[in-house]
Structure formats: structure tokens, C-alpha cells
Subunit: 337 residues, 2 copies
């Protein structure tokens, strides 16, 4: 039993191929009575447009490519995964598909993208994990490929011709955490972050810094590993016995701090993580939630505007980048104070 084509539908409805096509793509230009007749025929035959045929003719695939980084362990991959989930759902609603591709390095990724774009398999790309001096953005921009980066451009990169991007407002997140700590915890509010120089980390630190000014507690630094954070936090607790809360740049750091606080017999230290990963949830650690669903919405908005297909150049009225306000999830002891 062969799948029905427009031709079959046309025959049943007593119209021509093109009219069937119009009913599907531009129903407004078809007379009401004709449209109903064609729609009935479509339902009756169970007709479904053949994606490849359409794509061949229109030169559009209605598919967005997204790269999956090699899994390296650690906690925060979850944010990207949640983003991909959300993106898939939202894209579906807009009639778009999400195609995954793998690559182990930026040059490797460029050749993969090239392959998929040339083959007409994808119309657009969502970039993640951008880094300082990332060659991918320039490459894409140079080829006029519609794309959105999840992650703002780094200082010095792309200042002149900025591409479209979405990001989470890290400073707003730590500002929320800091404000919460002020109300619930006490006066000594410290920050546990990564070594300076990572844009993301500096952004998150800024929220804490700006909220407290001179009244701030100690600023501690550790690599993004639980043990490193544990050691650093233990040391800080010893030197600042009156520390009441620690705002952290990641859940990994927060877990380290949490464990150190327990070790030090100071379990009422209020700790705030970032990313709201399952690990923080399991340990009942408060954390800043990135709201990947909102990020996904914003991504598609940037890619497609209000229309039904990807757009190479966004109309001037539209914003070309968006900062998503995260939200603080309060857990454990911090919730009940």
C-alpha cells in the first residue's frame, strides 16, 4: 500500500495538485468550499507531505542542528541536556526538527556543520559552549548561516558584528541568592567562585559583589571540583567562623562547601549553588535555576522571529540577543528560616 501523494488527494477532491499544495501551505488563498473538500480528502486518505520532496523543491529542511559535546562527566552537562529537551519540544510546536551531530573539536565541528549545511540537512544551527576566540561564530557568520549561540560573546570577540545569542543572566541569579541570604541567613555572606578570567564566573560573582558592596564577606576561589571546593571552604570556615552564607558559582562548588560545612560542625551554613542540577536537589542545596525552557523559547524567537521558518536576517525591530532571568530554588534549611 503506497503512501498517498498530493496527486491522489487532488484526484479525490476533484482539484489539481497545486490547489492541494495551497491548502497545506497558504490556505488563505484557497476558496473556503474548496479548502474543506481538500481537507476532507487529506483526512480520508491519511495524506502526509513527503519531507524530502518538499525539501528538495523549497531548499529548506525545517531542521535545526545542534551539537552534543562529548560527555566528560561532572555535574553541569545537565543544563545543556535540559536545554536540548526544551528546544525539541518548542521546535516541534513551530514545525521544526532538531538534528543532533557529534564532534570532538571546533575544527571537527566546523566540518560537520559544513557537511550538514551543504547537504541541505539543516537550515540553522544552535551553538553551545562558546569559548574565547571561538572560530565557529566567525565561520557561520561568514557563510551567512542563521545561528544562535547559547552563551554571550566573550569580551574582545565579535564586538563589532555581534551575532544572535541568548544567555542566562548570571549576575541576576547570584543577586537573588545574595538577597535571599541577607533576609534569611545573616550578615557574613561570602562567595565561592572559580579563578578569575572565565566570563561566566566573573558574571556570577558580579551579582554578589554588587548586592553587598563593602559589607560583603570573604571571596573564595577553587577549581570546579568537589574536593577542591571542600578544601577551600574548610579553610575559609576556619578563618571566618562567623560566615553565615556562601553563594557559589556552581553546584559542584556548592556541594564542596556543603560537605565542608558539615565536616566543620557548622551545618547551618547556608549554601547556594548554580544550575539547579539533580545533585543539588538530592542534597537539598538551594540553587539558581537557569530555566532552560525559557532559553529554548528565546532561541527559537531569535532564529525565526514570529514567522514559521528560520530567518537569515532578523527584522530591525527585533532584539538580536536575550538575557534570561534565572530563578532561585530554595531548599533545605534555607527554606525554613
Amino acid at each position: 500500500m503506497k503512501a498517498p501523494t498530493v496527486e491522489d488527494v487532488a484526484r479525490v477532491a476533484g482539484v489539481s495538485r497545486q490547489t492541494v499544495s495551497n491548502v497545506i501551505n497558504t490556505p488563505a488563498i484557497v476558496r473556503e468550499s474548496t479548502r474543506v473538500r481538500v481537507e476532507d480528502a487529506i483526512t480520508q486518505l491519511g495524506y502526509r507531505p513527503h519531507a524530502a520532496a518538499r525539501s528538495l523543491r523549497t531548499r529548506r529542511s525545517s531542521t535545526i542542528g545542534i551539537h552534543l559535546d562529548p560527555y566528560v562527566g561532572g555535574i553541569s552537562g545537565v543544563v545543556l541536556d535540559r536545554f536540548v529537551h526544551a528546544l525539541t519540544e518548542r521546535a516541534d510546536e513551530r514545525g521544526m526538527r532538531i538534528l543532533l551531530y557529534a564532534a570532538r573539536s571546533a575544527p571537527d565541528e566546523i566540518s560537520r556543520m559544513s557537511e550538514l549545511l551543504d547537504g541541505g540537512e539543516i537550515d540553522a544551527i544552535v551553538l553551545s559552549g562558546t569559548f574565547h576566540g571561538d572560530p565557529r561564530t566567525a565561520w557561520l557568520a561568514g557563510r551567512d548561516v542563521p545561528f544562535v549561540a547559547f552563551g554571550r560573546p566573550w569580551a574582545g570577540d565579535d564586538e563589532t558584528a555581534p551575532h544572535r545569542w541568548v544567555d542566562v543572566d548570571g549576575a541576576a541569579g547570584t543577586r537573588q541568592a545574595t538577597a535571599h541570604a541577607q533576609r534569611r541567613a545573616g550578615r557574613q555572606i561570602g562567595f565561592l567562585g572559580w579563578p578569575s578570567g572565565s566570563g561566566t564566573g566573573d558574571d556570577r560573582e558580579r551579582g554578589w559583589l554588587e548586592s553587598l558592596g563593602d559589607a560583603r564577606g570573604p571571596r573564595i576561589v577553587a577549581e570546579d571540583r568537589v574536593t577542591a571546593a571542600r578544601t577551600a571552604a574548610a579553610d575559609a570556615l576556619e578563618r571566618h567562623p562567623d560566615l553565615s552564607a556562601l553563594v557559589c558559582a556552581s553546584d559542584t562548588l556548592a556541594i564542596g562547601a556543603h560537605l565542608a560545612a558539615i565536616d566543620a560542625g557548622h551545618p547551618d551554613l547556608v549554601v547556594y549553588g548554580f544550575d539547579n542540577t539533580p545533585a543539588a536537589e538530592a542534597l537539598e542545596i538551594s540553587s539558581v535555576e537557569q530555566r532552560p525552557e525559557h532559553v529554548a523559547d528565546a532561541t527559537l524567537q531569535l532564529l525565526m522571529g514570529d514567522g514559521g521558518s528560520v530567518v537569515t536576517e532578523l527584522p530591525p525591530a527585533f532584539e538580536r540577543h536575550m538575557l534570561i532571568e534565572p530563578s532561585l530554588v530554595v531548599r533545605g534549611a534555607a527554606a525554613s528560616r
Copy 2:
């Protein structure tokens, strides 16, 4: 600048369309000298086959669909995500693409699959999260759609006409953990599992049970939440002060047990989780690793055999299901005993 087609390549190489096509798809039947000439022309022009055109003619999309469950939080979603990552990499190597789709319920998913299959967008499906009485397997089998389930069929389902599936040998995993505990921990080795009736949980319990026979320690049960596990484990520790190790059905349970052990001033209790999630890693809890990369390999093997494309019926010589042996990752105190 239009993208080159087979026609362009043919002109440059001084051959016909079809010969170019042969060089790409069946190089063996083309004379060496001709092949080289065509390959040079391909490189020179930067020719890339247009996926839609090929797909329209061959009626194959070389794309595998996979569903992403709505994100519900919790720890073990990570396993599926890692599997998707691995599948993408491996599929790429075999010239296959991975297309994501979203659905909120099984019927919803069936209509999504139907749409993608009818539209020729995917050739095959990878099912995950199968459950007792799952309507999806029967539907797919009835439509002769090539598919592989990640997760073995549940007792009572599909016994007569089993479909292709891969799964992780849970019993083997807990057997490894139990054996390790016997060597390193002590004699009282308990099991912390979910309430009976979940096939997965029963399978994991079996490994512990079969390793120890009558010499086994207590069997404890809790829902898959950290707090529930913590309470249950605390209770057990009180009643069995000589408990030396706990093999758990999940990392969530293991974390609960780990926390309970610390609470009870019994931090040398050796705990084993299952799934090797980042959370277990962060807390230095040993865990059984599912090796999603192997699962991905097996999935593609079942879907494609040794060939380059998805196959509706696997040749009789091939296995139709595969059990992957997991591996124990030892961490923390357990490592140094």
C-alpha cells in the same frame, strides 16, 4: 554561488551523472582510473550530495528518531542523555543521523512517530523508557518499522514475537558490587532497593541475592528519593550495627544511605550506587556504570547489522537482543581498603 551537483562533477570529470553516483555509492564497480578522476573533481568543486534529493529517490532518510522524555528532575535522566550522546557519535560514524522528537504520552508519541515515518523523515526508531503493556512496541511491530528498544520486554509482554532490544545486565552489576564488597568491606552486605514489582529493581536485587545466598545481610526498601532512602537506611543501621556494606538499586538510594551513614556516625559503611551519575561522582560514592557507549554500539548493531543501512529483518545469524555487562566504578573509602 550555487552548490555543485552530480551533473557539474560529471562535466568536470568527463563522465556521466551515474558514474559519479557510482563512485559515491558503489566505488567497487568503477574503474580505478575513472574513480580517481571523479574523486578529484568532487574535491575540486567541493561537491556534497543533497540529502533530500537522495532521500526522495531512494526512499531512505538515513535518520533514526529518538524520543526525549519530558524532564522531570531527579538523577537518573543522565543515563539516557549519555546514551543519546553516544548514539549520536556512533551513528555519525555509520553515516546515520539522529533526529529528536518530543511527546508527552505514549499515544502522543505514536502520532509523532507516525508523522515522521510517513513523511519519510526517519527510517527507524530507538525506543527508551519502555513500560509494562507499552503500546508503542506493538504499534511499531505491526507497521514493520525497524526499531530497537533500550530496555528488555517486561514479563508477559511480547513473549511470543520479541522485538530487538538492548539492555544493561543489572544483576551482573550488583554482582560485581557485591563481590567487591566481600573482598573489601566485610561480611554483612545488605541491599537497598525499590519496592518489588519493578522489573529493573528486581533484576538488580537478583545479583546481590545470588552472590550471597543465605549469608546475605538485610534487604531494605525505599522509594527512589534521597530522603526516603535516608530514613530507611538510618533505621536499618540502627537495627544492624554490624552492617558493613550496602548495595543499592540506584544512585539516589545510595546517596540517601551515604548520608544516613554519616548521620549515624558510621561513615565507613561502604555504599554502592547504580548508574554512575555525576551526583555519585561528586560524593565519591562507588557506582555501577551502565556504559552507554556500549549500549549505543549494540543498538546500532541490532538496527543495521554489519551493513550501512537500517534493516527491517535482521539475518537469522544475528542476535536480536543484547545484554550489556556494566562495570563497577570504585570510589572513596572503598577504593583504598
